[in-house]
Amino acid sequence: MNAPTTSLAGAPSPWQRLTRTLGRTWGLLRRQRKAMAGGLIVLLFIVAAVFAPLLAPYSPTEQNFTDAMQGPSAAHWMGTDSFGQDILSRVFYGARSALWIGFASVALGLVVGVAVGLLAGLRGGRTEWLLMRVVDGLLAFPELIMAMAFMAVLGLGMNNVILALALSFVGPFARTVRADVLQVKARPFIEAARLMAVPEREIVLRHVLPNIVSPILIQAGMRVSIAILLASGLSFLGLGVVPPTPDWGLMIAEGRGFISMAPWMAGMPGLALATLLIGLNLLAEGLRDALDPKTRGDQA
């Protein structure tokens, strides 16, 4: 896909290559219905999250017992919960914590995972074998279970959730990055560069890294929805974010207890969560289809 270049005059700089790849990706993306639909949904949520203080009609923690457990009405579009808090406002603020946790944990896990995967893939030999066995061991723990264990050690709260999730993602990222590095290493132009006596460091920086950026980003994109799912799950189990922080998982857990009397308490935040996840999945799938040479040019 990217023509390999060494230190020849007139070769595009890494920055130029990046902008070119991004531009090309955008062009491909635009033709994918899935990605556009997903992207729109995600954008809406991001707007809701960023502008929550402006958009929310009430403060998310404003309690009002006289209005408690009301169904959707003109005053409260999504109804109120058992404390009289406006659910719509809480859903807006919940978007904040969900998106923040999602992106932060993936970013953190990405950095460490990529480092480990790069090390394993590039070094090869015994280092690789050892590292990958450790990663295999880590991967034997399902992500949720591992996150739960981390929360047990670290304690509750949003920052710990981010940390716990990030740590659970190191394994999967390391494995994918290593596989990508191995794939790139096997390509003929790497061998050609070596034969031309290009120094190893330059091979890594100019040839290997740019070629693994897109698969990594796609992986990261897909992980965000998993992260949000896990974070909400942890909060649902009571092992994540602590009340009174508005969090969809917490709200669903609360709503579970009142399901017969006030189904909207769990229903509304759940819908929001499901919609965001669907949007993220569509976007990630669209991104993958756009960049996969086999399905390129396909409509949705």
Binding site: G137, M146, M148, A149, F236, G238, I259, G270, I278
Partner: protein, 326 residues
Amino acid sequence: MAFTSQRLGAASWWRSLGALAQTALVLLVVSGVSFLFLKLSPGDPVAIMLGSDFSRDSYDQLYRQLGLDQPWIQQYAHWLWRFVQGDWGMSYVSKQDIFEQAVLEALPVTLTLAALSLLVALVVGIPLGVVAAVKRNSWADLLASAVAIGGNAFPSFYLGVVLIWLFSVALGWFPSMGYVSPWDEPLTGLWHLALPALTLGAWYVGLIATVTRSSLLEVLEQPYMAAARARGEPGWRVIWVHGMRNVLMPLVTVIGLQLGGMLRGAVMTEVVFTLPGLGMMITSAVQTREYLVVQAGIMITALLFIAVNLIVDRTYALLDPRLRQR
């Protein structure tokens, strides 16, 4: 012929040994992580055991007795030795032997739930995928895509709550909590497991339908399908005997790969429906700071994961003759 199989037998023996060494190392890492977890968890086990009033001396005594003054490597070895013998400690809360609680009581529940859910997913997902592949762009194709996207995105715990509201509260058809073992009382047990199995299975259905559809689409293009038709085999037989046989491998692969997701879903489903399985056990243990129980829980899940992966690997050779012997 006999000579070659002998030679190949020796080669595969070596490979099994290598695979065993790999698994052993992974198990080592897993146990190491679990041990580390225990050591890092907050709380002082000695203080907890001694209760509220204790003297410095009794503290030191118990400390030495528990071997907490030894270097970590030694403690790890002791712990590992006890672990493989089934001595997993005692739960403070339930005063029950943890091994009993985890392996004999909680594990079967989770396994039953998982098996049932997988069954539901296969029974619904495979035909859906087949129809979607055979009749492209039909309603089945759209349904399969919708289910795939939806099933993957709808978190199990939310779906569980929705199903409870729909089938338990609104319609009153199924119970919303509690567990009765289907091995003891089949009908009541299944009745209680209906909603949980549906919840957990829903997540898998989309996946299975998608994989079945895409694999079958590829298989349908293969010449051996046309060849079977050319021999006069009826359409349904061509699809199910010739086609699906070749779809089994990618299907099994995917099911194995997504096992982690299934366990995650199981945890949440158990909490939503209050089923006394591993998920419920670990969750309440974390909440009550029962670190020994949590540790037992994570060890079991990891071991389960590894065991199932090994089984899936062995199944490959069974399914695809091209992988045998070579």
